[in-house]
């Protein structure tokens, strides 16, 4: 029988502490065949299980250009994520996916790309960032604007350092006012404001943004003010999900099922959607 609710078993190969209550797991499929054949596209998500506690939805935070494993990054915020946070290297958990649509990275060849992320919104964007950096010559300028509440809350600190150091990425880091430390060298301000100051040029550019719903709303406005076209601004929605496959009725915005037709949308598509996310 083909059981759409049955997860695959995965082993936690490595754990990275990203920020208070935020950690990443590097996961490999127990089934060696699946390890070799598993494919996904950047922007897709999965349902991750802590057995006995249930499932949670996270994006696949690694890039499809990196084969053999997947990575997820999550914030401890409830029952399932609390349970996952207690697992150690070598432990087993469940994964089903990949689900949903993806960022059309192939269509962006030759374009400048601007990434704008807030807090725990960086994981889905990270998948696109690495996807693009692994084929760096295919794209123009790359700008990353990333902000979090406090310095401690910035995730992927090692990678931020790497992106800062490599010469072919323009990284702007920010923390909310009051969130800075004495030796903080980045910007201070909310992401939409910092983006406005950074003012990446809109011509021949696409933008990718993810963060809390309120941030996304303001960032979309800012991008339009900067001259970005609605069809070239992408975001990913995080409506609550349970099934991931269009059945359970939880993720819809009007008649649009985010788990199936999303989670990746352009600003133009969002505008056509009901105001319900």
């Amino acid at each position: 029988m083909n059981n759409i609710y049955l997860p695959n078993l995965v082993t936690i190969e490595d754990i990275y502490e990203e920020a208070p209550d935020v950690r990443s797991f590097r996961l490999v499929f127990k089934d060696p065949k699946l390890r070799d054949t598993f494919e996904f596209k950047t922007g897709q998500f999965g349902l991750y299980s802590a057995f006995g506690l249930g499932e949670s939805t996270f994006c696949i935070a690694s890039s499809p250009t990196r084969k053999g494993y997947i990575q997820c990054t999550f914030r401890k915020s409830g029952r399932v994520t609390g349970g996952l946070a207690q697992l150690s290297i070598g432990d087993t958990m469940g994964f089903r996916g990949p689900y949903g649509n993806h960022f059309p990275v192939d269509e962006w060849k030759g374009k400048n790309i601007v990434f704008i992320a807030g807090g725990i919104g960086l994981p889905p964007v990270r998948s696109v960032i690495w996807n693009v950096l692994d084929r760096r010559e295919d794209f123009g300028n790359i700008t990353i604007v990333y902000g979090a509440k406090t310095v401690a809350d910035l995730v992927y600190k090692e990678e931020l350092k790497h992106w800062e150091e490599r010469g072919d990425v323009n990284l702007v880091q920010a923390v909310d006012p009051g969130g800075q430390t004495p030796d903080w060298k980045g910007s201070v301000g909310f992401v939409p404001t910092v983006l406005k100051e950074a003012a990446p040029k809109a011509e021949n550019s696409v933008a990718v943004t993810c963060g809390p719903p309120i941030m996304i709303k303001f960032v979309l406005n800012t991008l339009l003010e900067l001259g970005f076209e609605e069809g070239s601004v992408y975001t990913t929605l995080e409506n609550r999900m349970k099934c991931g496959v269009g059945k359970c009725g939880r993720c819809n915005v009007g008649d649009v099922y985010v788990c199936k037709e999303g989670p990746v949308y352009t600003a133009a598509e969002i505008k056509r959607m009901y105001n319900d996310f």
Binding site: R75, S77, G94, I214, G254
Partner: protein, 335 residues
């Protein structure tokens, strides 16, 4: 030409014929003074004088709770396996034409790209034997949603009541096979069908208009939602009795060593249904949740699956503790 007849006195023989082959026979039966669909073993249990069972028969295709996988855990291993679908040969006897018409939408939803075999296998093994309505009440409004006691959508075998028998019409291939399989209990004859109960079409409702209004996004923040539906207390009763509601939750039950993953009925009327872990809730107010239910029925199902999201059975009206009547909202959106 003679009709195919099922004698009312022969119902017991039909039940025996079905259960004797290992099938389950589901019919309206009186339980705590309410008529409900339940598994029955004898004709004595089957209610004859009823308008509509209080529950919909969907729970025999899509159970209130169902194990989809089992797991065992030890110190260094976890084993997880799916379970076989419990899909016995089932006869749903005494369904009404309205609720039978819910099956097309349910099937479309459960097979939309990803096939939920827990639903499809059970549905495939189910024969819906509909008994056309000879009585109804004020809550019935099938005719307003373009159905009627004469409609056979979703029905495999359609029965018209006569004095001491049913006149039998096998509608689908599955229905024909059912009649052949249990040929001994059917006979040829002539009977005079009792008149059908035809609910009057609600004059101020035009469901094509309702769907058109919902398609136009401007209604979304209309104050009309709050005005008409704020009295909803979010109990979810309407969604559980509705033949087309199918929202569910996925939860784990068990100990630290073994357990199971279950699909449980859930309701879009609950305030935690869409609540994000961050505290953000896209449907924060009850009227937004109610709007979702209404849109699911009159926009999502028709638009996505060209099928009915509401079959006009009236169950939600009968069961609502605050007398929130879906037809009043339909009237508003027909303006």
């Amino acid at each position: 030409m003679a009709d195919k007849i099922l004698k009312k006195a022969g119902l017991g023989a039909l039940i025996e014929s079905v259960t004797g082959k290992g099938g389950r026979f589901v019919a309206p039966t009186t339980d705590s003074r309410q008529v409900v669909f339940k598994k029955v073993k004898s004709a004595e249990e089957v209610a004859t004088d009823y308008i509509l069972a209080r529950n919909s028969f969907k729970e025999f295709l899509f159970p209130q709770t169902e194990v989809v996988a089992e797991f065992t855990m030890s110190k260094d291993s976890v084993d997880m396996k799916g379970v076989e679908v419990y899909a016995p040969q089932t006869v749903v006897f005494g369904a009404r034409p309205c609720e039978a018409a819910s099956l097309a939408g349910m099937r479309a939803l459960f097979t939309w790209d990803f096939i939920d075999e827990f639903y499809t296998k059970r549905e495939e093994n189910t024969v819906v034997v509909t008994v056309a309505c000879t009585k109804g009440d004020d809550a019935c409004f099938c005719t307003t949603v373009n159905l009627s006691p004469e409609s056979t959508e979703g029905t495999d075998v359609y029965l018209r009541e006569a004095a001491d028998s049913y006149i039998v019409q096998a509608v689908t291939e599955k229905g024909k096979k059912f009649v052949e399989t249990h040929a001994a209990v059917f006979s040829e004859g002539n009977a005079k069908a009792e008149p059908l109960f035809m609910p009057e079409k609600i004059a101020n409702i035009d469901i094509a208009k309702v769907s058109a209004r919902l398609k136009d996004k401007t209604h979304y923040d209309d104050k009309v939602w709050a005005r008409l539906t704020s009295k909803c207390i979010g109990c979810g009763a309407c969604t559980f009795v509705c033949p087309t509601c199918r929202c569910f939750d996925i939860v784990d039950e068990g100990t630290a060593f073994e357990g199971e993953r279950r699909k449980n009925w859930d309701s879009c009327q609950y305030d935690t249904f869409t609540l994000h872990a961050s505290g953000h809730n896209p449907r924060e107010h009850q009227h937004q949740r109610w709007r979702n239910r209404f849109m699911c029925k009159f926009h999502f199902y028709p638009e996505k699956f060209s099928s009915k999201g509401c079959v006009g059975c009236g169950r939600c009206i009968r069961v609502c503790p605050v007398r929130l009547d879906i037809t009043e909202v339909m009237e508003e959106f027909s303006k």
